[in-house]
């Protein structure tokens, strides 16, 4: 019997190792898997490369991971926000590396990784400093920049409902990067608000088919297990 569910967030993140690349879902805090990030901090690993849209807000989630000094590099589109002080301080101190990627290219590079494509030509960024030094090509009268797939060792994502096969549906704009990250990471871990029985999800409405998900945890964990 396939059962990808685990009982604790600690078990959910147990394989994540020092130096791993980790995609983290969320646009700001919408869709950010806060409980999995807390478990990752408690797990104690560091030297991580984090791939996510924003570089943390306030004191929790990605911001806490950065505050605790676990992150070597951030690949993201929009690090600077009113409450990104932990990233700002470490970036200014030269303690964290930043690879800035336009948001659509971030998604497209993940999609290329998940789909097994060798590279993409994208019009976004052509002629800008973010395309400096990159190969360009004119195709059909339009200019494109060559960008490579973006893989990760792990993805931490948040969904609304999931079943033991790993099928997922999301909640509103909390969906954002998660379905794309689930395809691009070798080991995707989902925290879901409710684990439902197999067959309860409408197959026509499943957003992430279970093949892309390795592990699920219901959070907040019922009965105080954490």
């Amino acid at each position: 019997m396939i059962d990808k569910t685990v009982a604790t967030t600690a078990a959910a993140v147990a394989e994540i190792h020092d130096g791993a690349s980790v995609m983290i879902g969320g646009f700001g805090t919408a869709g950010m898997p806060a409980e999995l990030i807390d478990a990752l901090i408690a797990h104690g690993v560091g030297d991580l490369t984090i791939i996510t849209n924003n570089a943390g807000n306030g004191e929790s989630g990605v911001a806490a991971l950065i505050r605790e000094g676990r992150v070597r590099k951030v690949i993201c589109s929009f690090p600077r926000q009113v409450d990104s002080h932990h990233f700002d301080a470490r970036y200014r101190a030269g303690e964290i590396e930043l690879e800035l990627v336009p948001q659509g290219n971030l998604a497209a590079r993940m999609q290329a990784a998940g789909a097994g494509l060798g590279a993409i030509f994208t019009p976004t960024g052509y002629g800008t400093i973010l395309a400096k030094g990159k190969e360009v090509r004119e195709i059909g009268g339009r200019n494109y920049v060559l960008e490579y797939p973006l893989y990760a060792d792990f993805a931490l994502i948040k969904a609304l409902h999931g079943d033991r096969w790993g099928n997922l549906v999301y909640n509103k704009t909390a969906r954002n990067f998660s379905p794309v990250m689930a395809t691009a990471a070798r080991f995707t871990i989902a925290q879901v608000s409710v684990i439902v029985p197999l067959g309860a999800l409408d197959p026509e409405a499943v957003i992430t088919p279970g093949i892309f998900v390795k592990r699920l945890i219901q959070t907040p964990v019922q009965g105080g297990l954490a």
């Binding site: 646009f27 700001g28 805090t29 919408a30 869709g31 589109s77 929009f78 690090p79 600077r80 926000q81 990233f87 700002d88 970036y91 200014r92 930043l98 800035l100 990627v101 336009p102 948001q103 659509g104 290219n105 971030l106 998604a107 497209a108 993940m110 999609q111 994208t122 019009p123 976004t124 960024g125 052509y126 002629g127 800008t128 400093i129 973010l130 200019n143 999301y170 909640n171 509103k172 704009t173 909390a174 969906r175 954002n176 990067f177 998660s178 379905p179 794309v180 957003i207």
Partner: protein, 212 residues
């Protein structure tokens, strides 16, 4: 000098958005255009974080923080709305499916180059978000801005000095002093605000504007 307020510029843009258009309104000033879309037209608002068919802000206390716009403000959805993931949302732009995008700008060149993401200051932490995707991603890209900086320098320029967001991507600029069409032949005055003329706007911008 009589200048349009931000609301008046927003209303001016709203009048030019046609029935049935799929529209993305950028963060900041362009968000105001949503308040001035003609009520007799069905216009569908896209937000790049994954919603099509965005509605007005919720009442205080009704916010759902998993239903937000690209500026991370709480929003609502209209009947017929849909959600999508980031790859699909940016496919809507990059793939040429959006009709109109309205963006703010630091500078726009007369040929439609856009600079709106980075001042180039050495100590600034760069953040691009969806700006570069939006710049090249809609069939028509409009800019909404004040024509002059606080120091009186024109933001419509021959060549942008700030780092570019996209090349030759802006087709029209709506400002507090006039509306300009941009293209390979340079900037053309489409409409001057009352009190301004082609000559006065040539003086203010220092540009060889062509006439309406």
């Amino acid at each position: 000098m009589k200048r349009l307020t931000q609301d008046e510029i927003a209303a001016r843009i709203g009048r030019d958005i046609p029935e049935g258009a799929y529209v993305n309104l950028g963060i900041g000033m362009p968000t105001k255009v949503a308040n001035f879309l003609p009520p007799d037209r069905e216009i569908i608002l896209h937000s790049e974080n994954g919603v099509l068919g965005m509605g007005p802000s919720p009442a205080a206390g009704d916010e759902d923080w998993e239903l937000i716009n690209a500026g991370k403000q709480a929003v609502t959805i209209l009947k017929g709305a849909s959600f999508c993931h980031q790859a699909d949302s940016f496919a809507m732009m990059r793939g040429g499916h959006l009709d109109v995008c309205v963006l703010g700008a630091f500078q726009v060149s007369v040929h439609g180059d856009l600079a709106n993401w980075h001042t180039g200051a050495p100590d600034a932490i760069p953040a691009v978000g969806g700006a570069m995707d939006l710049a090249i991603g809609a069939r028509q890209v409009f800019v909404m801005m004040e024509l002059l900086t606080k120091n009186g320098t024109s933001k419509l320029v021959e060549t942008c000095s700030y780092p570019l967001t996209g090349l030759a991507c802006v087709s029209r600029v709506y400002t507090d002093l006039g509306t300009f069409d941009l293209g390979p032949d340079g900037a053309r005055l489409r409409e001057a605000v009352a009190g301004e003329t082609l000559d006065s706007l040539r003086m203010l911008t220092g540009l060889p504007l062509s006439g309406a």
